[in-house]
Each structure stands twice: as structure tokens, then as C-alpha cells.
Subunit: 121 residues, 2 copies
């Protein structure tokens, strides 16, 4: 089986994930990243922010990103709009649209990011 | 702007969704469906189940699906495995792998399904 056919997740047996937010990994120097699922057509990971940490503005051509806030709250920018989102809220950054996230604190922030297609490794 | 470039969501201004689960739509006869975001490369919707309702086993070639349980709990099948998942849990159905969901009750079940690439309308 090869990359590009969804085989990674199948091969690794990662079909079910209990309490996704428990996969959060924090690092003191910058936003932490962890993988939830890696498919051939879809990738999901966690972005985990200590108070004060951010994911700087960036965009992806040919790739959409869905953010779902799992824990805490943060300032989410998509294009020219910024909103404070909390657990249970979502944001959508279509291909080519600048987006960023910042955790103003005081609590930790955990965000699930779903990307289609997956990032190129 | 045309389909296939993520323009729908941009055009419609659907960048932020407060409390995604509030978009759930239930119908007495079968699983209810609602759209969360529609992009050129990614689609997210809600599948909402009254007790006893199910999404029958099916698969998609060339498309991965991520399920995230938002409310309640249900029996989720992926391939030859079935697990009871609850709010905060996820399941991943890679391209070509049979999957289904059933709500044994007694509570309502709300599941976010993220598909990449989006379903063909």
C-alpha cells in the first residue's frame, strides 16, 4: 500500500481515538503539534497553545482547513476577520485565505485542525 | 469564482461557526443532516440521530471521513471493528473502508463528519 490512498491510518490501525483532546502536546517555547489521524485525503491534528503562544498568519494554496476549538478559547483570524472562539466553536480557512490563532490566556487552548488534502511531508 | 477553489465558503462568509452542535437538525424518520462548512477541498457536516436511528454501512472511494462525536454516544463501525464512542471521541474511515453509525439511545447523538475531498453534489 502506498501513500495517497488512505493506507497509513489503516495500516497503523488508528480507526478510533478516545478523547481526542488527550492527545494535546504542549511545549514551553511554541505551539505544540500532534497528529490525530493521517489519511491519504485528510489529515487531523491538534494545535496546543500555552497562554501567550500563537500560530502566525499563513495560508495554504489548494488546501482547506477546518478548526474546531476543543478546550479553552482563543483569537482566530480568517482573512480580515478575527473572532474570539471557545470550546465547541469552529472556523474555516479556505484555500489561499490567511489565518492565524493566538491564545491570550489565561487558560490553555487546544484546537483540532483538519486539513484536506493532507500537508505534504 | 468557481466551485473547486474553496470559494463557496468565502462567498457565503461562513468563516466562523459558534457552537457547531447547535446546527444539528433531527428528523423523526431518519438521521438528520446539516452543513457546517462547504469548501472546495473539505466538507464538514453534522449527522444527527434520534435514539434508534442509524447511518447504514457504506464506503467512499477516493475520500476519507473523520467523525467527531459532539453530543451523546453511539456505536461506530469502521471496517471490521465497532466501538461505542462518546462526546470528544473520534473515528477515521479511510477511503474504501466500510463505516456506519447507530444510536442505541436513550439520548440524542450528534456527530460531526469531515470529508476530504467534499462529496459530489
Amino acid at each position: 500500500m502506498t501513500a495517497g490512498c488512505g493506507a497509513q491510518a489503516s495500516t497503523l490501525g488508528i480507526m478510533f481515538v478516545k478523547q481526542v483532546s488527550s492527545l494535546a502536546r504542549f511545549t514551553p517555547e511554541k505551539m505544540g503539534k500532534s497528529t490525530v489521524v493521517q489519511g491519504g485525503f485528510l489529515f487531523a491534528g491538534l494545535n496546543s497553545f500555552e497562554p501567550g503562544q500563537e500560530h502566525a498568519p499563513h495560508s495554504h494554496e489548494g488546501q482547506d482547513k477546518l478548526y474546531l476549538i476543543l478546550e479553552g478559547s482563543g483569537m482566530v483570524q480568517v482573512g480580515d476577520r478575527t473572532e474570539r472562539l471557545s470550546a465547541g466553536d469552529a472556523a474555516f480557512a479556505p484555500s489561499g485565505i490567511v489565518h492565524s490563532i493566538r491564545n491570550p490566556g489565561p487558560e490553555r487552548l487546544v484546537v483540532m485542525a483538519v486539513l484536506g488534502p493532507p500537508p505534504v511531508k
